[in-house]
Symmetry: C2
Subunit: 337 residues, 2 copies
């Protein structure tokens, strides 16, 4: 790496003290002669001197100015967009986001979490598929690191950004009910994180209100929350003999549509499909996907702002920021016939 040049090297080379160099280079050099100043700057450029980040932050007791972001899957449109929102806010405050994609792997998640903590991160945004608040708190330990929960969590407490999942479920159910569907299937993940529980409760409550019975034994289909998961569940959906299906998220819905297409089932003519999230792809698949929109980018922005706020104000109090959802009606749902 080539030995690093230190402030002392520069001082020696210039025949001045380190103070002089330090002050001048930090823009506090008014009191030094122009000649000295020029010399120092010249030397710095010549030798490519850069202050050691560690030494500097050690003495200035700066925070690391880093926030951690833990998501299941950065290459998904949903989390990719979310992260862009976070990054946008962070950049604004010259905070660096450490982004980790842990692929729903518990060990990896905890691993990343520890690594971030070691680096004395200022705060965390966690969309963990596996960790409970207990686990998180245990790893954080006595450190005073604020965190914001988001999306897939097994938590009913803690500061977090939420969307109105119950309402989202209702909107979806009402939409299908309005179209006259009576036989409806649900695709949901094996482990129900809090947001899914809400969403499904809203969905089922609303069906009931419309006097529609959900055949829980046959029409609640478990599948991974992914395109692949939806794709593989196509057979089960067909077998269920339903006229509509509500997928856990858009990825899943898009996979399901592909699976149905390959089996010769027409969407929405034979089966209506609803997703959830409103990822940017929805408009590009065919038929365009009807879904419940979450303001994904805003969620990222909101989470980041909330976290920064918490970092700066140091208030213990639990906060919850709630975002609205809405029905986005496109082409994958139609009146039953």
């Amino acid at each position: 790496m080539g030995k690093k040049v230190t402030i002392r090297d520069i001082a020696r080379l210039a025949g001045v003290s380190v103070t002089t160099v330090s002050q001048i280079l930090n823009g506090k050099g008014e009191r030094f002669s122009q000649k000295t100043r020029d010399k120092i700057f010249k030397l710095r450029d010549e030798y490519g001197y850069v202050p050691d980040f560690n030494a500097r932050s050690l003495i200035l007791r700066q925070s690391s100015s880093m926030i951690g972001v833990l998501v299941p899957n950065i290459s998904s449109p949903f989390f990719g967009t979310f992260v862009e929102g976070v990054q946008h806010v962070a950049q604004h405050e010259r905070m660096i986001p450490l982004i980790f994609s842990a692929d729903r792997n518990a060990e990896l998640e905890q691993n990343y979490l520890s690594q971030m903590l070691e680096r004395s991160i200022d705060g965390l945004i966690i969309a963990s598929a596996t960790m409970t608040t207990d686990t998180i708190n245990r790893i954080i330990g006595a450190r005073d690191v604020p965190y914001i929960l988001f999306d897939q969590n097994y938590a009913q407490e803690g500061t977090r950004v939420l969307t109105d999942d119950y309402r989202g479920g209702e909107l979806a159910a009402q939409h299908l009910a309005d179209l006259g569907h009576k036989k409806i299937a649900i695709l949901e993940p094996n482990e129900l994180s809090e947001n899914f529980t809400q969403r499904l409760t809203g969905f089922q409550d609303c069906l009931r209100k419309n006097h529609i019975e959900l055949d829980v034994a046959h029409n609640v289909i478990k599948a991974p929350l992914s395109r692949r998961g939806g794709y593989d569940a196509a057979a089960a959906v067909i077998k269920a003999g339903v006229t509509a299906a509500f997928a856990g998220n858009d990825d899943m819905a898009i996979g399901l549509m592909r699976g149905l297409r390959e089996r010769g089932v027409k969407v929405p003519d034979q089966i209506s499909i609803m997703g959830y999230d409103d990822i940017y792809l929805d408009e590009y698949v065919s038929p365009q996907l009807t879904t419940i929109r979450q303001p994904i980018m805003d969620l990222g922005i909101g989470a980041a702002k909330m976290l920064l706020n918490k970092i700066h104000s140091d208030q213990e109090q639990e906060q919850i920021q709630r975002f609205p959802v809405e029905l986005v009606q496109r082409q994958s749902t139609a009146r039953v016939r």
Copy 2:
């Protein structure tokens, strides 16, 4: 934030010296009595003591163990997947990737670059849409930070991972030629980065070999490299009266297909569409997209490995790692009629 507990606090609390604490906590405490050791560990847990990262790396002269990754757009399937590849390798070596999505914004890119450099990053992977190697070198300055170039760069030099873009262009052209297409349009971005130049040269050379004329004046359509860009270019493609179009990347192709669909043009019956990249969506759109496959995840893995290698071995020598491309034939292309 709560005052941080230092090693001295622990030492004082335990009634021992800082040496004792340091040694024991760093697993070099064999020489101390079991009783002391227990006491120290207990105190650490009780007070949540964690060594200060800066102080520690200052004295241990550790590197930051961070690598920077600069991409145009983290929420795109292409770069998302690439980044996952990078992260995979980094994790393995306990390196932390700093991931920045700069949205093809020159100022932002340089900003991020500086920020990373300030934090004495160990190396960089740059898929910059705007910076030349000159700009990069200028910002890096005298620092000895290795970097790997990737994808969109205006560079014909420097250590980098490449795919055989010329060959990819050829494969695409040959495929369309084989299907009997004579009237072909190209969708390309306004600024041609090196990989695009190669790709298009390969494409055109191959057309020529097949005695197909490309009407450069009308059938080379400029559009942003995005779904939106492709979507908006649909009218121009129709107007060009071609039987096939080769889009700059899959995102663009997917947008284009949507645009054509909305205008009642059937793909591939009326117009065949080819993309480039083989992002994971290609199989989920309808018709499934024919494309030239780049091994995206492998590129990420390769770039990261190469960078780590360069960081550790400190060799100046320019290296190039080349990855193969291949034709993936799906449903968006068909024999002309």
